[in-house]
Amino acid sequence: MKKLMLGNEAVARGLFEAGVSFVSSYPGTPSTEITEAVAKYDEIYAEWAPNEKVAMEAAFGACLAGRRSFCGMKHVGLNVAADPLFTIAYTGVNAGIVIGVADDAGMHSSQNEQDSRHYAMASKIPMLEPSNSAEAIAFTKLAYELSEKFDTPVLLKMCTRVSHSQSVVEPGERVEVKKEYEKNGAKFIMMPGNAKKRHPIVEERTAALTEYAETADFNILEDGADKSIGIITSSTSYQYVKEVFGDKYPVLKLGMVWPLPVKKIQALSGSVDKLVVVEELDGFIEQHCRNIGVEVSGKDVFSCIGEISQNLVAQKFGKETVCGAAVSDEIPARPPVMCAGCPHRGLFYTLAKNKITVMGDIGCYTLGAVPPLSALDSTICMGASISGLHGFNKANEGASDGKTVAVIGDSTFMHSGMTGLVNIAYNGSNSTVIILDNSITGMTGHQQNPTTGYNLKGNPASKIDLETLCRAMGINRVAVVDPYNLAECETVIREELEADEPSVIISRRPCALLKYVKHRKPLVVKTDKCKSCKMCMKIGCPAISMEGGKAKIDATLCTGCGVCEQLCKFDALVGEEE
């Protein structure tokens, strides 16, 4: 039966139909819904791993055991998992293994827009790239066939527009796959003597896959009557090209973006006057064309920055596009903000008020950088807050110890903050790390993690005790604060910054959006007491605004957290007692 299905749900459906029985992932937009959708199939064991490297290694173990396995991540997650990736490329597989990676051209929810295709080439494994949900199912299943036929891990590349678009699919049936495990050290123990023998096999495999790419039906040449231009494209760029030109020009749609065909591209080149590659981000296919002696146009026309769209394709090929009317007023931007009742707000207010330098990390709390809080100094990647703080304080030779902190979420701390904290303890920088424990992985939409006490399927799981963990890693000073309590935050932050040894502050309050969290009633404004001092406006709460010179609280947004109440010197903001 025909259904509308999200690209990521379609990957999950493909995993189900391919007989996959093990999935381990770390959440990251735009990849998260793959694993969330997998969790709904009872036939598949699925878990959130602490990070992508662990996820990939676990998936590899399952493949070694003879079960088809999968791990999913966003583009930057593949950096974390790059270590196992480059070596399982050498060992090959027992049962098939597929690595799902979702790029985020346009950086809708990411810190960079790196192009994952380079990883396929660098690690020498094939990469399939679907352009809609139906292909997401088909290519996922095909990826397992290729994985087992060519004895290789396979990358399945998604992007925001394919991951987060629903399109029409027709789901199929599941097939069960199980292989036996046999000890085979020459294949699976990658010490130099064995790895040296595996590398030539990897090169032969790429040659065989290149030959396969010439005839495989996912690299389709769609003919067009007008031979003045030929287009090579893939993924969502293919959809934009077809939207603009339909069947006008010959289009080579590549379903496998590594390795790339040679003869097929050379033949197309010979049949058209001019060849153009339409691809998002880097000129990856374009460079391949040049390498095989085919003259093409590509990044000289399309930018390597941001997304492509149908209008952009039309404009670059000299076609006119229309634009609707607009009002002449400037429309104020509406950037994302920390939610009303967000437990991070009180902590960030305290840091900003005390003019503390703050090394940030990846999560909702990156929004602490936004005015009026403007509380962050840096955000790089998962875990970089803690390691960066250590380097910053060491380089300052004590001058920054008392006025610099790292902030990191509970899930991010599990992901890659722990090793940084070990470094602080081991190499002795007088650093203060604040773990923002909101009891969930927030930004990606509420996923469980090792500190929450629940697993992906919502069942009770072992719960990491952060206080005990930090002490075990060599931190003697561990304090816990309630970020709704400004006075407590202030006192503890000052104490820990002044202390003459490393410390951890755990700022603990569950995310205000969690269903089990009970809120107080919305606060009310005593307008006769409001002196229009705007102190309550300093915390950037979307529930508070000024109307007619007086504070106003939006009762549909206010969760009664009381942070503004503590700031008001005139008792104009009033909440009920807890």
Partner: protein
């Protein structure tokens, strides 16, 4: 049929995903090829959000570009004005007149423009602006703004009330069905 385009815009958290889900269900029963593009992740946190719904004989691109939208359905007035360049010359804006201040307005660095509905009309844009929040509250919940807006959109759509109702039944929990049906009728028949 040539591809038709509906943009659903609003503020993160206003419930635009349910509106696009409902529209998708309805269009699927009509046998169209459909693509629906959503926003997940950081921009959902109170930011400006947009969902693209496209349908026709064959839909390629998952997104709607400038000058292409047949309808812009907006949950909030400023968001309607933000996206009008995406409207076709003969397209229509259906918008809730509710105003939600963005952070730059709250902090005082920007102003919320006045009389936006009139200004859109003056700019030659076909605008149907009404207080969908009041109708949603009349139906029983402020959260039903999405269904009120779909009711309004139904006046311009080639689908029967029965077909819409079936799609609503498939899209909302049973205990909220009657309230949502009422919200749909209020949006459809208002004014």
């Amino acid at each position: 049929m040539k591809t038709k385009n509906v943009m659903i815009v609003g503020v993160g958290g206003q419930g635009s995903l349910l509106a696009s889900k409902l529209l998708g269900r309805l269009l699927l029963t009509k046998g169209y090829d459909i693509k629906v593009s959503e926003v997940h992740g950081m921009s959902q946190r109170g930011g400006s959000v947009v969902t693209y719904v496209r349908y026709g004989d064959k839909v390629y691109s998952p997104i709607i570009d400038r000058g292409e939208a047949d309808f812009i359905v907006s949950f909030e007035l400023l968001e309607a004005a933000r996206w009008t360049e995406y409207l076709k010359p003969d397209g229509k804006v259906i918008t809730n007149t509710q105003q939600i201040n963005p952070m730059p307005v709250i902090t005082g660095v920007a102003k919320y423009p006045e009389k936006l509905a009139e200004k859109m009309s003056d700019a030659g844009i076909d605008v149907d602006a009404f207080d969908a929040l009041a109708l949603a509250e009349e139906a029983g919940s402020a959260k039903a703004v999405n269904i009120v807006l779909m009711g309004r959109l139904s006046n311009y759509f080639d689908a029967s009330v029965d077909e819409w109702m079936r799609a609503i039944e498939e899209s909302v929990p049973a205990k909220f069905l009657e309230m949502n049906k009422k919200a749909f009728e209020l949006g459809r028949n208002f004014g």
